[in-house]
């Protein structure tokens, strides 16, 4: 079993995952997207389907143009880093999985020589695509894409300039990303940011960062805590559940109306400890050059060739906060819990009421 974070940054799973993984739900989003997601989830509920995917995490390559310290995604031999999913493999995974949203992390997807073709095919399937990028190549490659409600660039931003450049281990990255965001917004593309927070994060700096991102005109911001692992050697740096709740409560206290979050409002409530959920690891299934990853985006317990096998053969009871699995004990990451919060929204009247209340509070 491999944990991506096994040599990763304290308090987080690893940087490439942070760059790439923040998933794609749900507001503020176009009404058509909200409707698509809502009708999809309700359809699954009506069919009595307990385990359904919400966001396909499609990793077409692991190669990146950053080399962030602790990043597990780039810790492979060169011949593995050189492998790419073909557009046909990507479309086939999307068809097989059926999720209404597709998040494309990596590696850096814009390195993929056929990323435009991959996106085009997914958009043709009416998938809401979140292309997760560090934006180093975004400005140069914008011409490859057409603005559409189905495509969002989700730009990795880990804070204001000093924090972001330190996190990605390269000076100048923040400035390039900001410039690319401006250009993409100006050209009519949907743009969000995605941010992962760690132990030691200064809440007041994060609040300033939110102000800066909203000034850039992004549609919304995605947030997640880093992945915590109980057995990690350096516990003092890890964001355990209680510290995660405290940090997010501080960040989101007296939140400004100008801040828009591209997340389920219930997930933000969960991060602050105002509601508790169990993990939904099948909510964001991951497909990459090795196949369908068991059980989730963060853990690598093996691979299976089909999505059906992933759903049917994974022993899901072995995972989640309450399972007793030490690898899941402190995890509050979006890819496990945002799907839980969406499921809650459509699972009961109280869940729906919670969502409405939280949505009004967060302006989402």
């Amino acid at each position: 079993m491999i944990l991506h974070e096994k040599l990763g940054r304290p308090g987080s799973v690893d940087i490439s995952i942070r760059i790439c993984s923040l998933s794609a739900s749900h507001m503020p989003v176009p009404i058509s997207q909200a409707w698509t997601v809502a009708s999809y989830v309700l359809g699954q509920k009506l069919r009595g389907n307990k385990r359904y995917p919400l966001v396909l995490m499609l990793e077409p390559l692991f190669r990146c143009n950053l080399a962030c310290a602790g990043c597990g995604k780039i810790q492979y031999p060169d011949h593995v880093l050189s492998k790419r999913l073909t557009p046909e493999q990507c479309w086939s995974a999307a068809d097989e999985c059926g999720a209404p949203m597709v998040s494309i992390p990596g590696g850096e997807p814009l390195i993929h020589p056929e990323i435009d073709k991959i996106v085009e095919g997914l958009v043709a399937r009416k998938k809401y695509v979140y292309l997760c990028t560090n934006a180093l190549l975004l400005k140069r490659k914008l011409d490859l894409f057409k603005p559409t409600k189905f495509l969002t660039f989700s730009v990795h931003m880990d804070g204001l300039e000093p924090e972001h450049d330190a996190a990605v281990c390269r000076d100048g990255t923040y400035k390039i990303a900001v410039e690319a965001i401006r250009e993409a917004v100006q050209r009519g593309f949907r743009v969000t940011t995605n941010t992962t927070l760690f132990e030691g994060t200064d809440p007041s700096r994060v609040r300033l960062f939110f102000d800066e991102m909203m000034k850039l005109g992004v549609e919304g911001m995605m947030l997640s805590p880093g992945y915590s692992y109980q057995k990690a050697p350096d516990q003092e740096h890890f964001l355990g559940r209680e510290r995660t709740k405290k940090l997010f409560s501080q960040i989101l206290a007296n939140r400004k109306r100008s801040w828009k979050f591209n997340l389920s409002p219930n997930f933000l409530e969960f991060l602050q400890g105002n509601v508790d959920y169990e993990c939904t690891p099948w909510g964001n299934p991951t497909y990459n050059i090795f196949g369908w990853q068991k059980p989730c985006y963060l853990l690598q317990d093996g691979y299976v060739p089909t999505f059906k096998q992933l759903i049917e053969e994974t022993v899901w009871e072995n995972y989640g906060h309450r399972s007793g699995n030490e690898k899941c004990r402190d995890c509050m990451v979006h890819c496990g819990y945002e799907a839980s919060s969406v499921d809650d929204t459509f699972g009961s009247v109280p869940g729906f009421a919670r969502t409405v209340k939280a949505a009004m509070a967060y302006g989402t």
Binding site: M1, I2, K6, L7, G8, R9, P10, S12, I15, R63, N65, L66, A67, A69, G70, C71, G72, I74, Q75, Y76, P77, D78, H79, V80, S82, K83, E108, I111, L136, L137, C169, R170, D171, D234, F290, G291, G302, Y303
Partner: protein, 132 residues
């Protein structure tokens, strides 16, 4: 350096299993060796019972553990290959451990000058590939 030669180098690094060998004397030791190979982030060499060798990245060793799946380098690409676990005599961790010394703590404990040098090198490599 050709990839094959690189993998043949016995480069044991203290703190990493790179350069070490695990024997598969019985079922338990075979399971341990192959599970360790699955966890390893670099390439390994599987020495098989018939005296042949298979070099590659182990990406799958599923329960009940009767098969190992690898990506075997071929030129600049690699291709998937499956080998029955029972055929494996020993596992040599011959490929460079790409995770070793790459943790966040490793990074932060480096001197500023060393970090800058590494940042420059990595940026140059990405630029050389046309990725910047």
């Amino acid at each position: 350096m050709p990839q094959a030669d690189k993998h043949a180098l016995p480069t044991h690094k203290p703190g990493s299993i790179e350069g070490t060998t695990l024997e598969c004397g019985d079922d338990a030791s075979r399971r341990h060796a192959l599970q360790t190979a699955f966890d390893y982030r670099g390439d390994v060499t599987l020495d098989l019972q018939d005296g042949s060798h298979l070099l590659g990245f182990v990406y799958l060793y599923n329960e009940p553990g009767d098969e190992v799946q690898l990506f075997v380098p071929q030129g600049k690409d690699s291709v998937p290959q499956t080998v029955p676990a029972s055929r494996v005599r020993q596992v040599r961790f011959t490929g460079e451990d790409p995770a070793f010394g790459k943790s966040w703590d490793d990074w932060t404990t480096k001197a500023e000058k060393e970090r800058q040098k590494e940042m420059d090198r990595l940026a140059r490599e990405a630029a050389d590939r046309g990725h910047l």
